[in-house]
Amino acid sequence: MDESVKLSRVLEDRFAPFDRAPTAMLVADRKGVIVYANQLAAATFDYECEELIGSSVDVLIPTDVRAVHTHLRQAYTEYPATRRMGASRDLEGLSRSGRRVPVEIGLTPLRLEGVDLTLAFVLDLTGRTRQEDRFRAVTEAASHGLVMVNREGTIVLANGAACSMFGYEKGQLLGQTIEMLVPRDRALKHRVYRASYAERTEVRPMGFGRDLFGKRSDGTEFPVEIGLMPLDSDDGRFIVATVIDLTERKRIETEIRRSNEHLLRLNEELSGFSYSVSHDLKSPLASICGLVDLAARELAENDLEGAAETLAKIGERGRHAGQLVDDILDLARTDFETGAVEDVDLRATVQDVLVSLGSFAEQRKVELINDVPHGLSALSQAVRLRQVLKNLASNAVKYSCDQNGPPFARVSASASGDRIEIQVEDNGLGIPADCRHQVFGMFQRFHPQHSDGSGLGLALVKKHVESLGGTIRFESSAQGSSFVVAIPEGERTEQ
């Protein structure tokens, strides 16, 4: 009987119980010829058992590694031992259709009928790899950054989100130390923290109560939130860190805080407003009620002279109340004023305003001076600008006095950078030193003997100036006041 026939009989005999074994098994001789394959082994590579027996193992090996495999196989036959094949390398087999099959292979030397053989146990990893792929896909899809490090702090996994967050190309982070993502001044401490965490097992947020920062590839830092989770596997302990970029959140937080402060301020302003309204708006009404009662009694007693005087007071208070309501409405309307922003010729606007104040100024013997040079213009809403100028100029007239020489109110202007500065000055009473901080507040009156105004004029001016994207400042002394409004400049025209 032929040696090989005898051998195959023995193999059939010995291996019959393994034909349907749940582990794929192959037996090859020293030349690499397959002498036995059980059903699962054949099925793993899409063959029938009969087809494989007699073929070279090469048919199961991807062409690109076939040559290497031949060498390795020969080496193995010289020093046969029971071992895992391709330790620490990813092994792949080749199916009949050319599909690469991820496998794990265990080798055992075998001697039958005086022939040296090799028994290979083949474990199809397709399923497991699919799971790994799924894991990788999930990791990649995560919007949070995921970074996994080993005990030594070496990065073994970093998903796309983590890479782009820290400014690295995909794969650039692998094998690097995790400290390259930590700001330099905190890297040393981080090393210590990391080492101690590696000994623990709890899932926890990192840097509890501290603001954490990550370091990008360009060295810039950004706020992060980090969660830590230990992960134990066959290959030892790993730490998985989820990283959330807080830049946007912090920005929104700041924005919310800012708008909150703004709302608080508005609220304060509003409650101050309602307090003032309850005083200032009710005060003329209370006077009128009292005066009406008085007038009625005076009339009842035929005190016509007294009644006439009382009625005159009623009229005065009534007009004052009307003016107050107008001013409050003006102030409320400043938010809704929607004139077009356009080039406004300054000299002409100032001239209009001064002309409108002409009779008032004449009555108070105040000289109005327009010192605005020709050709200057402001990029502004004409209605607002006119209101500003009118209020300032009429204040200058209202609070004039003759202690500082013949009273005047002068408007001048100059360009300064991309702004126009308009100055309204007078040589009047000035604003008392102890009141200067309240100048732009509502219902502030500093010279009650000189005027029964509403105390809203400068509050209105300030609101208008701010709406025009400008600023207002003032200087005041017993020699007079000077208000300077700075607003965006318009097109200059050559004269």
Partner: protein, 150 residues
Amino acid sequence: MKRVIVVDDCEADRYLIRRMIERRQTDVDFVECPDAPSALRYFEQADWFAQRNFSGDKGAAGDAPETVLLVDINMPRMNGFQFLDQLQDLMKERQVPANALWIAVLSSSRARQDRARAAGMLVVDECLAKPIELADLDRLVPPLNSGLSA
């Protein structure tokens, strides 16, 4: 002689009180101050407090107080509260008892914060809403002949 001192920046309101008192033909010394600083100057006159005898317990035996001070709360620059703070200091400095004056604060608003603040001030005896009523005046400055007051 009875004395009524009004501190109010509103001319019409001072006029109203002045007229109401005048019409009662009561012998009252009426003092008007158009703002808080001028009222302070009035009290600071060296002899103002010294001239007076403060032994009388105000409110005792139903007697109306000798000197009534009416202070408007809402005044520019120095409001009624700020004025009363300073007046209180002045009275302490001159060792004038807190009950030397009957002090009423006047307000046209019913703002709660004003009432609370007034209640917290030792020298303030009452809060009156504007316009001041004839009944208030009758109580503070009883008419000589009640038949004339109507």
